[in-house]
């Protein structure tokens, strides 16, 4: 741990006082939130929104009828490699579809409709990009 890290650790440990909080109200609030979210989830699953999300997920997957146009029999090896990559991509996109679906349901339950924009902001965060460029330069 260098000087800066030590300074940060010391100040984090002493800087903010350990504020007392009401554990009973946290527990009661947690149970109440769980019940509310369960009710919303139930309502959401019985609405057409989920069907639309499922359709979007399915449409995001590539069609299986796309085949490589191999110009000659001598490209069997290349064909095998192509098929293998296709299979891998399909697995990846399939799992991405599932993640997309799960996240969408979570976001809808939270009434957090702007999260996708936020994610886009995170991707375009200039300071993150700067950090990466600085790191690459140093490397």
């Amino acid at each position: 741990m260098d000087k800066t890290e030590k300074f940060i650790k010391d100040e984090l440990s002493s800087g903010v006082e350990n504020t007392e909080f009401d554990i009973d109200s946290v527990i009661a609030g947690t149970h109440s939130s769980i019940k509310k979210r369960a009710t919303r989830r139930k309502a959401l699953y019985s609405s057409p929104v989920v069907l639309v999300l499922l359709l979007i997920g399915i449409m995001a997957l590539p069609g299986n009828d796309e085949s490589a146009t191999l110009p000659g029999g001598e490209l069997i090896v290349a064909g095998w490699e192509y098929s293998w990559t296709e299979t891998q991509n399909l697995d990846l996109e399939n799992s991405q579809g599932t993640v997309f679906f799960d996240q969408s349901v979570d976001y809808l339950i939270d009434d957090n409709y702007f999260t996708y924009n936020e994610d886009a902001d995170a991707l375009l965060d200039e300071s993150d990009l700067e950090a990466l460029l600085g790191y690459l330069k140093e490397a």
């Binding site: 940060i8 903010v16 504020t19 946290v26 527990i27 979210r37």
Partner: protein
């Protein structure tokens, strides 16, 4: 061989035992709350995030695969929620001045002025970090969490978490050096 009591407790939570869940909350709340408070620097927000963390723990408990300790898994959820909160707060443009004002009003004038000064220095320097850098720096230095776990919580790779950490540290260093010199 006896099972780890934390695992026994968590298995009860997984089987939807609400008393075990209450016990889990009581056990983890103090440390978790202080950790979240270090990231978001606001007692009310920290309590809300703590509550949200436990809601997610209850809902996602079946997804716990035992790849890390239960504590690390819960802290990962807390980092993720705190990071999302910081991103939103950045969007709402909470000014640095407001942060400092609240620090001044919360501080006791009799307290050691150097400690207050250092604390404010760090608090202000943290506001120059991106939400992701902020979350990584606090998680790594205060909670001593591994980069791989932090990266997973923030949706980036272990190496990206390291980059955010070093860049964040560099920004803090440069801010403090400017203020001290």
């Amino acid at each position: 061989m006896t099972k780890n009591p934390d695992i026994v407790l968590f298995e009860k939570v997984q089987s939807r035992d609400s008393k075990a869940f209450d016990q889990l909350m009581r056990e983890y709340s103090p440390e978790l709350y202080n950790f979240i408070l270090r990231i978001v620097s606001n007692a009310e927000d920290a309590q809300d995030i703590l509550q949200d963390t436990f809601v997610r723990v209850w809902e996602k408990s079946h997804q716990f695969k035992g790849n890390s300790s239960i504590k690390t898994w819960i802290f990962r959820i807390a980092i993720n929620l705190s990071y999302t909160h910081l991103k939103k707060r950045k969007r709402w443009s909470l000014s640095i001045l407001d942060e400092i004002k609240s620090l001044i009003s919360d501080s006791d004038p009799v307290q050691d002025t150097e400690r207050v000064h250092n604390s404010m220095l760090l608090e202000k320097s943290l506001t120059f970090l991106t939400p992701r850098q902020h979350a990584v720096v606090v998680s790594r230095i205060y909670q001593d969490l591994p980069f791989a776990q932090i990266g997973e919580a923030l949706g980036c790779s272990e190496n990206a978490a390291k980059v955010h950490f070093h860049e964040g540290k560099k920004r803090i260093e440069s801010y403090i050096n400017k203020q001290v010199s």
